[in-house]
Symmetry: C2
Subunit: 314 residues, 2 copies
């Protein structure tokens, strides 16, 4: 629970005096998963202490929203819901209109299109709402209510690992192929080294993934949380395809740079979405590695250009 109080300290708005009642409200709230209405929370609080008034709960909720501990969401049925932000990144919602349950997802692609639209309109984005209303699978084929819920941070970590693994695999393939196709000795050894690194890291990631699902077997079949189309066959897949068109060493380096940059940016962005947790760590470690590769390639590219210029002038 030390981590939670650390989280609370960093998210306390204004000098905010502490009070045992508010502490109780915040604690009960953080223990819940999912989306509570103010009234749901009042009921939960009253189980532990009947002396706490509705207004206090409302005030505590407003205080939490201001400090970023809670997020206020609106499913359009006249009351607001609240979800806590502890180890829970901003996300989008699927809302079932028959059972009123909501499930969550993230889509890197939707986010990037939203950015594109906002830029075109010169709009500064503060907050984005994506809600899909309809009917869930459970409601349609006879309410099998096996709605086991895994903590989002675990599912996020799983998706992070899957995407990282796919990226490493395609990276390995890319550098292996590039090493084969490269004419220049020095370039070949750069690509070979990178291939070796990708291979090693791939092993680490696969082990980590195996451990994760061993500990939580339900994770394997749990629905996707983080959608990212580009990850299906790995970020380097398009690059490898390009290689086959017959590019020269310089172009191969550029393709590598492009892929590493894309993957670095992706993992950095999603790493930052998460209050510290397994998922965040995986993403940020990966982002770091990709940045190192990127720098290595960029340096190599610069040297190649310099060499070519020297040849040109002699």
């Amino acid at each position: 629970m030390g981590e939670i109080s650390e989280f609370l300290n960093s998210h306390r708005p204004d000098g905010g005096r502490r009070s045992s009642k508010r502490d109780l409200i915040v604690n009960v709230f953080l223990r819940q998963e999912g989306h509570l209405s103010a009234d749901d929370l009042v009921d939960l609080i009253h189980v532990e202490n009947k002396e706490i008034g509705r207004a206090t709960v409302y005030r505590a909720l407003r205080w939490m929203v201001n400090g970023g501990i809670a997020r206020k969401v609106d499913f359009g049925d006249g009351r607001f819901r609240y979800e806590h932000a502890y180890r829970h990144p901003k996300h989008f919602h699927l809302i079932c209109q028959s059972c009123r349950k909501s499930s969550e997802f993230l889509s890197s692609d939707i986010e990037s299109f939203i950015d594109e639209v906002s830029i075109e309109r010169g709009f500064t984005v503060e907050r984005t709402v994506v809600q899909i209303y309809g009917n869930c699978l459970a409601c349609r084929d006879g309410n099998k209510n096996d709605t086991l819920e895994l903590p989002t941070e675990l599912v996020f970590a799983r998706d992070a690992l899957r995407i990282a693994i796919a990226t490493e695999r395609s990276g390995l393939q890319f550098y292996t192929r590039a090493a084969l196709l490269t004419k220049d000795d020095r370039g070949r050894s750069v690509f070979r080294n990178l291939a070796k690194e990708e291979e090693e890291h791939l092993g680490t990631l696969e082990k980590r993934y195996a451990e994760l699902v061993a500990e939580h077997p339900k994770l394997e079949t749990y629905p996707t949380f983080l959608f990212f189309r580009g990850a299906a066959d790995g970020i380097f897949a398009a690059g490898t395809e390009e290689l086959e068109k017959g590019v020269d060493d310089r172009e191969a380096l550029l393709i590598g740079i492009r892929c590493e940059r894309g993957s670095h940016e992706f993992f950095k962005k999603y790493g930052e979405k998460f209050e510290d947790s397994e998922g965040k760590q995986i993403f940020l470690e990966f982002a770091d590695e990709e940045r190192e590769h990127l720098e290595l390639l960029q340096c190599e590219y610069q040297q190649l250009i310099d060499t070519l210029n020297k040849i040109d002038t002699t």
Copy 2:
């Protein structure tokens, strides 16, 4: 105004008796552009007739929402807004938090990602909300309130034409190139004919576009309403690139089929979004043309396969 009453007739829910008061409410409502709160509408109604009660306006709004004449939207500030559906497809919103104005957009890509997520989760979609909250350009750099608003149907028509033109251009390029690369005489004439058709149609579309912007000069610089990344260099652009990799006649046909199908589906989908209007017509005409091309190519492909089989067995 005949078209409006036709629209009303097709959207009248339950036997719905007609009444002069409700007629007035509906008429005033349909004359507005943008998003009104119930109270805004009450005020507007009271300008023309003070004898109409708030409850009646609320009842009329509910009646319109049931019949699909109006859509109820929720910008999260505690009151609902209403927008009419006449010549106005379902869309997404950018909502400025300082001036409370909202602007609209459509993104084919976001819609397709939403479909993807829904399918993965086995979710049947009824309604989709995408809202971007933040600050608009006008609010940020000193409120130049030159907020001229063009009717959505015009902007939609413009975007339809732009996308259609880009598609025709890339189609023309594709078929021209394919005709050059084709070895088989018969195949070459098919591609050549298609190229000719694309060229003719391109001319028609460009004329139509020129007429549209001549009539409404502000259209040229009005912000994009329909975002579609694939349209930037035309739906056939990727296909043309593939051609250059050196494909055989059969593959060229398949690429053509794929492109025509994609373009047919895109234009059909967006054509259907619109209550009859200029934009709808452009989209559906275009969808039709692409379907014809598609059928032609499919037929040609079948004959090619048959011929190959015959050669194979002799």
